[in-house]
């Protein structure tokens, strides 16, 4: 249970970073923290104490397998996160070229 709570704390640390930092790259790092904590959580819910990789073999009697489905989910989620992250960084580079700064206080034309 401690692991799950630590995982959630990591999620909140990431959220704190996104909400308080003023630098675009630091906001991106905060988002990455949230992503990793979610992936960690998905892997943790599939883990079973003393489980082995779910490959059927005749030599092992009474095997205990870990749940393979969350692992497949995490792989998919990592690929999706890769796409989202590269999109965000591409926009960050474009913003730096247009504004010459990463500070979001100076990048605020849209208001109201």
């Amino acid at each position: 249970m401690t692991l799950f709570i630590l995982c959630f704390v990591l999620f909140l640390v990431g959220l704190y970073g996104v909400l308080t930092r003023k630098n675009i790259i630091k906001i991106f790092i905060g988002l990455s923290f949230m992503e990793f904590s979610t992936f960690l959580f998905l892997v943790l819910i599939g883990y079973i104490e003393g489980g082995i990789a779910p490959i059927i073999s005749k030599n092992i009697t009474n095997p205990v397998y870990v749940d393979p489905l969350p692992q497949a989910m995490v792989l998919t989620a990592i690929v999706i996160a890769l796409a989202a992250n590269s999109m965000l960084l591409a926009i960050a580079i474009k913003i730096y070229k247009k504004y010459g700064t990463f500070d979001i206080r100076k990048i605020s034309n849209l208001k109201g």
Binding site: F11, L15, V18, I24, I27, L31, M34, E35, T38, F41, L42, I45, D67, L69, P70, M73, T76, A77, I80, A83, A84, M87, L88, I91, A92, K94, I95, K98, Y99, I107, S108, N109, L110, G112
Partner: protein, 512 residues
């Protein structure tokens, strides 16, 4: 027969693949194929909508049959609610793509635009069709990442800033949704929505479920831009190219926000009192604050974007009141009335809001500005834009012959019959302020001659833009027919039945 439903995902994704490959070789390929694909899917979805039986079609990807009654494959499911959403998505998608034929010429990368549009529609079709939670997340991300890129399509200062805001808040929303799906999997060890619903029926871990529900409301609420989570919407929707604004405001916030909320909270979770209260409060807040923020805007597209928040509030209120009455074992006909009103307003809003965004695009296309203070006197130069936008403005503010009047009336009657007097009062007040705000839009863009003295070059927009606007304006008037008996039974009643009988969804899928 049931293999036909996979076309809703396959065709847009195939078009998205083919456009960058073939589009460079054949001139005009990208425009033709996008419009043809969307038109075909619209016809297919209308065929499913009007074929007269309420049977649930499903397709198991990979052909994996259930083992001991436990579903293994990823299911594509077509029931009343799904086909209702599919016809909205593909209809608005077709008109946006057709409108874009002229509008998008000013941008250089036409191939990229149509590829991203196809990806977005394919993702949304997948979201509304899938019967599997993780698959829902995957399709949601396809649609949303394509929309991030489309918001930044102009690559100017404003577009980039709006896209960055949208991506940060959208990223948080996606992670909250993934987290919620993980929590559900932890509890039930399955991802199939029907199967989850079966297992949750016998679960009594109330606090855990409430935590999951709150996480999911935060995630999907951010996607649907309900009021505490609305910060990204006005920027993103006003910065995108106009056909995309029409898609984002008309379809995307409904397909990946409202639809997911309705599907998960009616058909997967057991409906409960707290959640319905949260819906009514969020809906009222969105409705009231959205319209007050909209009144002061001078940018046409920002004004329309804030009205999207406000009008989505009506949908949430309708559905929330229905849920509250169902939970309290109240009068079932009042609950059905409220849900009918909410869903009817959903389709009406899709039509008139996309039309208004297309009008704003037409004004910007000819005059080069979106600022109401610099516009004026356009009614003589742009008669089609003027008349269609007048129709859409009357529809959104609830003037009787148009469709917006009937859906708002249904919601208000249901609120009074269900003794939600405050909500009914607020709905009437918001409707009046909406009218005021659209009178301002009409006056400053089409009549007031103060600023534009001589602009002889301004004339009507090209044919594809006119065609989309005229057909949508006719739909604004024609959709009022949905309320009359005879038409209502074929379109709205099956959808409402699915939400009224909350457990039928899971039993129907388990039986296949």
């Amino acid at each position: 027969m049931s293999w036909l439903i996979t076309l809703f995902v396959i065709l847009p994704l195939a078009a998205a693949f083919l456009i960058p490959v073939i589009g460079k070789l054949i001139k005009g390929f990208q425009k033709t194929i996008t419009s043809v694909v969307f038109l075909f899917l619209t016809v297919l979805s209308l065929f499913f909508l009007f074929d007269g039986n309420t049977e649930v079609y499903s397709y198991k990807i990979g052909g994996w049959e259930p083992v001991n009654g436990v579903p293994i494959a990823i299911y594509f499911v077509i029931d009343g609610l799904t086909i209702f959403m599919l016809s909205i998505i593909n209809l608005i998608g077709f008109f946006s793509a057709f409108y874009a034929i002229s509008y998008i010429r000013r941008f250089t990368a036409e191939n990229n635009f149509y590829t991203l549009l196809c990806l977005m529609v394919g993702g949304m079709n997948g979201v509304v069709m899938t019967g599997d939670l993780f698959n829902l997340f995957v399709f949601l991300e396809i649609a949303v990442i394509a929309s991030y890129a489309l918001v930044a399509f102009g690559v100017e200062k404003h577009e980039l800033e709006a896209s960055f805001k949208y991506q940060v808040l959208g990223g948080i929303a996606s992670l909250l949704i993934l987290f919620g799906i993980g929590l559900i999997y932890w509890k039930t060890k399955t991802l199939n929505i029907a199967d989850v619903s079966d297992i949750l029926k016998y679960s009594n871990d109330r606090s855990f479920l409430l935590f999951t529900q709150i996480i999911l409301i935060a995630g999907f609420g951010l996607k649907a831009a309900m009021i505490p989570f609305h910060a990204w919407l006005p920027d993103a929707h006003s910065s995108a190219p106009s056909p995309i604004s029409a898609m984002l405001s008309g379809v995307l916030i409904k397909a990946i926000g409202i639809y997911c909320i309705i599907r998960l909270f009616f058909n997967m979770f057991i409906i409960n009192h707290e959640i319905s209260l949260v819906f009514i409060i969020l809906g009222s807040l969105s409705m009231v604050l959205g319209v007050f923020l909209a009144v002061g805007q001078w940018d046409i597209k920002r004004l329309l974007a804030y009205h999207s928040i406000s009008q989505m509030g009506y949908v949430i209120i309708g559905v929330g009141i229905g849920m509250m009455i169902l939970v309290n074992n109240g009068n079932k006909s009042v609950a059905a009335l409220a849900i009918t009103g909410g869903l009817f307003h959903l389709i009406n809003h899709a039509v008139f809001k996309s039309l208004l965004f297309l009008n704003a695009g037409a004004i910007e296309y000819k005059t080069g500005t979106r600022n109401l203070k610099e516009l004026g006197g356009l009614f003589a130069y742009m008669p089609v834009t003027y008349s269609t936008s007048l129709g859409a403005s009357m529809a959104i503010s609830g003037i009787p012959p148009f469709n917006g009047f009937f859906s708002k009336l249904l919601i208000i009657i249901a609120a009074i019959k269900g003794r939600f007097y405050l909500v009914a009062f607020l709905a009437v007040i918001v409707s009046i302020i909406t009218l005021a705000s659209f009178m301002k839009f009409q006056k400053f863009s089409f009549f007031n001659k103060s600023s534009i003295t001589e602009k002889p070059k301004i004339n009507e927009v090209p044919f594809p833009m006119c065609f989309s606007m005229i057909v949508l304006a006719i739909l604004c008037l024609g959709l009022s027919l949905l309320i009359f008996p005879g038409v209502r039974e074929t379109v709205l009643t099956p959808v409402v039945d699915i939400l009224m009988n909350t457990t039928d969804y899971s039993s129907a899928i388990k039986d296949i």
